[in-house]
């Protein structure tokens, strides 16, 4: 289940995973901490962070907003598409924005009022592609 074989399924890790799988609210680390504390009152926030990281690296859960350690700014305010390097976080403009023709009714089963969407590509910039061994490439 966990990708790296030298990982241990500790009580804390198990409870974090179980609690996260119970809900569909996409909680933040802090919210997971609050959820887990009902069952493990002495768990630390650091442990929650460490385990969320490990579980998402292992593919058991997923982390939303992958490449956003810091915000970036674009002098061009018009709507266009970006390509982000997953390795160095560099951002470039895409040549064009594909026309999606999305049927909101179909996508949205919720009672959210949809205002728009954002499409982002991710990949490897030439410098990072060169650095990373092609044999062990991981997105």
């Amino acid at each position: 289940m966990l990708k790296k074989s030298n990982l241990r399924m500790t009580r804390q890790r198990k409870v974090i995973l179980e609690e996260l799988q119970k809900v569909d609210t996409h909680p933040s680390a802090d919210e997971v901490y609050a959820m887990v504390r009902h069952r493990l009152p002495r768990i630390s926030l650091g442990t929650v962070y460490r385990n969320l990281e490990i579980l998402s690296e292992s593919g058991v859960i997923q982390k939303l907003e992958p490449g956003c350690s810091l915000k970036r700014f674009d002098g061009n305010p018009s709507d266009h598409t970006h390509i982000r390097c997953v390795s160095c976080d560099r951002v470039v403009d895409a040549a064009m924005t594909p026309d999606l023709e999305i049927d909101f009714e179909q996508v949205n089963s919720t009672d959210f009022k949809i205002i728009g969407h954002r499409l982002e590509f991710f990949g490897l910039c030439p410098q990072c592609a060169e650095k990373s061994n092609p044999a062990e490439m991981q997105a």
Copy 2:
């Protein structure tokens, strides 16, 4: 040019905007700070942050990664689409993920090696839609 009429075009604000419009590198606040300091050595990082915020609110520039004040986690690791409330940052799952059929060749004029893409919807959740006066709705 600036949306709120009581805003002033100070030297600092002007230089920040000019420098940002010069480049297509999508710099972070810190990088903008470094760029601007060549012309205004005594400018402070706080001023850069304040102005980037004001300029993007005014629509003169844009902030990438709009809704990502903190990371969120999903117990479901499978690939699916999310809808985020622009007001309270809450995230729900979309009913389905539209099939995009994107021609990477066409989108990508760069030498990035594209690995994948991410589509996210944004909108207003029922609670926030109710709170916000429909007459002055701002996305």
